[in-house]
Symmetry: C2
Subunit: 213 residues, 2 copies
DNA sequence: GAGTGTTTCAAACGTTCGTTTCAATCGATT
DNA sequence: AATCGATTGAAACGAACGTTTGAAACACTC
């Protein structure tokens, strides 16, 4: 039945690379089938048309990059929950490595130039995580209205996504070696410190005092 | 000679909108000529082909948006400089409605799906502004090393770019009407408050206390 | 107002794309 | 070995695209 080397799977793999590289419009079905070692008609036979193939590939990208929908945060104090979420978000979205290397680029492309498939992506993958963050934020700021909660969450997510979306620009801006020196541990700690300080739950950011000093 | 309503100018205007909306591949010359009120052959007559038209449009976008490289910050206190930069950044990059409204979206598109032109873009468009932010941040945190300064700046820029990069996702996430309610004034104030609080230069963010209360 | 270079126009060209077709082939079941 | 649904293959289809064409319309000079 589901041979791992089946044409369908090879098509998804090849399509993922092609869509991630060129986007939906510029991607060529002929290229995809060639790379998958399949016939030109294979896409239409297995998926119907180009758009449905894209939808399957996009959801597959999210499936592979999102094994856990929500992190285990238990009943930690709110500040630690927030720190845990930031670590989770970085691991899953920002620095997580994908098999084949096309899932994250594809997802990022979709977020910035959405297609019709975006609604399902938002509903299945983004909203649950955003609601988790919002609930943590509500715990920290019980008095804030919904609008304030939203922008507080956006400030957290924006800081994190920065390192995904502007990677090419950042490399040219500060030099590739300096960008590479910003490892996940350092970034998670910075974003968490920055955010907790902004919320009045920790010391000011950027003072670089060693805790042991 | 150079009638401001000349076909060539109207083509650049229409092409800017089309390229900004759909990108190079998905943009249609027929749509561009239609919007410009020009004949289908006009693009080839005035620019040669689609790619040369794109180059001209992209350079025109930079030319128009490069009038003000840096905001007037004078010798305000550092916290006010930072607030001024955030306002400037929002006006120029995030909500900046340039004539026709296509220059910034087109540039953003180029930034996240870079071509060979990215190096020049970084040098002329991004680096001067980033260095300004870094100098402000250095004034606030004289003791911080370069790496810390970088991520502090990234936290500011990330919060701002959030509202440009993920606009479509945000609309689906919180509803278009809620997204529309986040006007520039509100966002500038939020990001500035959040950032200054993170740096220990202001009250904690999200408390929503009226300053007069 | 004839002459000349520039710009616009409707129509079509050649290509490429996604998609379809239908016969050939495979694989399991009897 | 025969059967039959599932899959693959070579070829072609229709549509849409960027581009070209050649004549008409225009603007300007003398």
């Amino acid at each position: 039945m589901s041979n791992p080397d089946a044409t369908k799977d090879r098509l998804i793999e090849a399509a993922g690379r092609e869509f991630a590289e060129k986007g939906f419009e510029a991607a060529r079905i002929r290229t995809i089938c060639e790379r998958a070692g399949a016939n030109l008609a294979a896409v239409n036979y297995h998926f119907g048309d180009k758009e449905q193939l894209y939808r399957v590939v996009l959801l597959e990208a999210y499936r592979r990059r999102s094994t856990t929908v929500t992190p285990e945060l238990g009943d930690l104090p709110p500040a630690e929950k927030l720190r845990g979420f930031i670590r989770f978000f970085f691991e899953q979205v920002v620095v997580g490595e994908d098999e084949g290397g096309w899932q994250t680029p594809l997802i990022m492309r979709e977020l910035f130039h959405p297609t019709a498939a975006l609604d399902e992506v938002v509903g299945r993958w983004i909203r649950p995580r955003f609601e988790l963050l919002r609930s943590i934020m509500r715990e920290i700021r019980p008095g804030a209205d919904e609008r304030r909660l939203t922008v507080l969450c956006f400030s957290v997510v924006g800081q994190c996504l920065m390192y995904r979306m502007t990677r090419q620009v950042s490399g040219r801006l500060i030099g590739p070696e300096n960008l590479a020196s910003l490892d996940a541990e350092y970034l998670v700690d910075h974003v968490a410190t920055f955010t907790l300080a902004a919320l009045g739950l920790g010391p000011a950011a950027g003072l670089d005092e060693t805790p042991e000093g």
